[in-house]
Homo-oligomer: 477 residues x 2
Amino acid sequence: MWEIDKKSKQPIYRQISDQLREKIMKGEYTPGSVLPTERKLADQIGVNRSTVVHAYDELTSIGLIERKRGSGTKVSTQKWGISPAGSPNWKAYVDSGAFLPPHPLIQKIHELSHNKTLWNLAGGELGPDLFPGSLLKPQYDKILGPEELFEDEDPQGYRPLRETIARHMKVTYNVDTTPDSVMITSGAQQAIYLMTQCLLSPGDAIAIEAPSYYYSLPLFQSAGLRIFALPIDEEGINPEDVKTLYQKHRIKLVFLNPIFQNPTSVSLSEKRKRDLVDMCRSLSIPIVEDDPFSLLSFEGKTGQLMKKMDESGNVLYLGSLSKTVGSNIRIGWLIAPKPVISRLMDARNQMDFGLSIFPQLVANYFMRSGKYEEHVAHLVSELKNRCDVAISILKRHFSDFLTFHEPKGGLYIWLKLKIPIQESRLFHQAANNKVILMPGSVLGASEGFIRLTFARLSKEELEKALEAFRKTLIQLI
Amino acid sequence: MWEIDKKSKQPIYRQISDQLREKIMKGEYTPGSVLPTERKLADQIGVNRSTVVHAYDELTSIGLIERKRGSGTKVSTQKWGISPAGSPNWKAYVDSGAFLPPHPLIQKIHELSHNKTLWNLAGGELGPDLFPGSLLKPQYDKILGPEELFEDEDPQGYRPLRETIARHMKVTYNVDTTPDSVMITSGAQQAIYLMTQCLLSPGDAIAIEAPSYYYSLPLFQSAGLRIFALPIDEEGINPEDVKTLYQKHRIKLVFLNPIFQNPTSVSLSEKRKRDLVDMCRSLSIPIVEDDPFSLLSFEGKTGQLMKKMDESGNVLYLGSLSKTVGSNIRIGWLIAPKPVISRLMDARNQMDFGLSIFPQLVANYFMRSGKYEEHVAHLVSELKNRCDVAISILKRHFSDFLTFHEPKGGLYIWLKLKIPIQESRLFHQAANNKVILMPGSVLGASEGFIRLTFARLSKEELEKALEAFRKTLIQLI
Ligand SMILES: Cc1ncc(COP(=O)(O)O)c(C=O)c1O
Ligand SMILES: Cc1ncc(COP(=O)(O)O)c(C=O)c1O
């Protein structure tokens, strides 16, 4: 029985949805039961079909009923399944918003990474044995009293650390900047997130390298951006491609990882850097120079930063301690013009009020102590050793299976398979043989590539892992 | 940041113009960007307005900046004739996205807070002298080696800390939960942000208390939510109002701060808590129980958590160390059903990859050491002392001007003026008398209320601050 009052202030569709809701609550319609078709119910009540559609839409949106093409409208079963009556339909809630889950293979790699008996060639981070825990300890011993720890929160970041980073940029890269142009973030990742939220709108076009680390994150997709690829050769991306993409799609921002790129380890040549900076200046497009790896050069030089070449404030620079200290410290920094910084700070004030003072104090002491440079020098020699080991094994035992370029720095070797093997088969068979691999497709490459991280395993482990990888290839070919 | 040396041989205006020039050169101010007004910059640096005029004149004469009547002073675009064409139009970029800047008065309060010669009755945090720096030090001394620091990143939070928090919820509130239902966030704020992003869509309706701390943040507005108010009386909000709002506006989530509410210090009565939990269960609406203050009871009891009364998983609980340890530690936690947690983790993986391990280790050791409870006991007795001092002064000297209820815990006294005074006049006159006040309108109240924080000043300072506040009232009436 329906009681519709056409003179009521409450809209009719709302009266319908309220009464239907009550019927469901009282058990008149039980979970899974089929509701009248829209037309039938409209006839029965004596309203337009669209009014019933509206009422059904509302109940669908809160997850109380489900509509399936072909099979009509039903009272939701999920809602009532295990959880007691009254429990919100979390499924309906969590479908709101725009955060895509990670790529299934990334999730799988993440799961497998917890298993310490597997050899991890897939993760993007440094191994635990490279973490300078014993060097950091004296740093946090120096963190003294209440005054310091109680520094007023600053959404731009602890000012002494911003000063230290401005100095670091000058000493290391000869880049002039001021502490006011520096913003400390929870890794480079947070800066990238803030930029997608604050400088771009859904539907905007951006350009990124292909392949790229960025493909492994659903970040840009979640922000509703249109993503265009800049292919990489031995000298990095081609600046002319940026122009073409601008002309065709009006790209609004270029995200690049120009030095020891993740995953190819390719660096953009000096000439192309200059051309790109000029090109973007002439097109007035900002470039994000995402630079976690530049200190990790095996040959002691990495060329100039684009930030150094930039005279018009086009280049937004991103630094991070994740690849030189450890990802768990969560310290990154953005160098950008004032309007960008203050916009990002507005956003951040809503997101988390800024970073905890603890990692900022630790980072500040460490970077000012002189120990940071020492540590990086040690780290680089260790990384080079591991890379050499991996390269010599690959040369000796893998030449039938794959090709690669020798990296001049960074953490990765980018492998190209000579023989086509289905990636998921390769991945799973490798896991059976106790090796975790990172298939290139996750990073936006076509089938047949693998990113090998030599930074997570000791030399001995690397040998075993590569042996198991080789066994996998032999099994599959 | 300006570094003016009043003893230098160089005239002050020259120091200003030199530093401004440098800021422009280094890209802190880009071509076309607007400079502070003369008055504002003069205030900021602490010089006469005429000095800034002189400095601006100088830079205008060399064409580096431009002054237009009515539209203020800008960095010249012409000067950059050739290169500047390429500087992106940052204004257009930063207009993207949906982050509203904070309320102008909040910004002003924030600025004034840097001036340590003013008495701060406005800030929402504990004062520096209440920060347990000396108790935390032994905690981070215990943070040992690489293994621990190098814990694999976990976007849900460091597992041992999640275990500690589950135990804390049991011991302190008799709430049963599991480490898997706990997510560690960068303060409660990040949890609130994540919920608005993941559980709600633009256009959705929510209900919050009025007045409320939430009005001081543009968070919900930025997320495009429709916000409906739940008025507060001496027993907190009225559960029937939630029902009415549901019927009228289909509110999807209720955000509440039920214990020692910010700013009223009112606690929701036990009966209303129960009614509310029942009501929300019958409507299937989740309640966010935002609870930073429950440990700060002056009478040793705070009643039950709604989370404890909740049998259907309707209540999402938010805890924080911000009001018991310090806001700078940035440790908060959410207790929620699995689907909610995993959704929020997807989002967080795109935002910042999770929290730094440092504050998590410190919090974990501190909360497990037994020292945390000791510290809270000490903190509460100190807060009660300060509150008593404030109350007795208010009773003795302010009875002509205002009324209030005595708080039973928390950090705030909510003052109602007996005589109407325009809020901005009150605020500015108070600042002239060296007191920073928080006008109630910023917190969603009608004119004529003030939130007084007794937690930031020592008893002696409180006395002086209140004396200056009284002087202000007398001047304005
Ligand atoms: C190119 C690149 N950018 C950004 C990041 C994110 O780094 P962070 O840990 O600083 O957030 C990574 C991490 O792998 C990376 O490789
Ligand atoms: C009611 C309420 N919720 C949340 C917060 C944010 O706290 P946190 O520092 O934990 O992010 C505050 C801080 O003032 C608050 O008063």
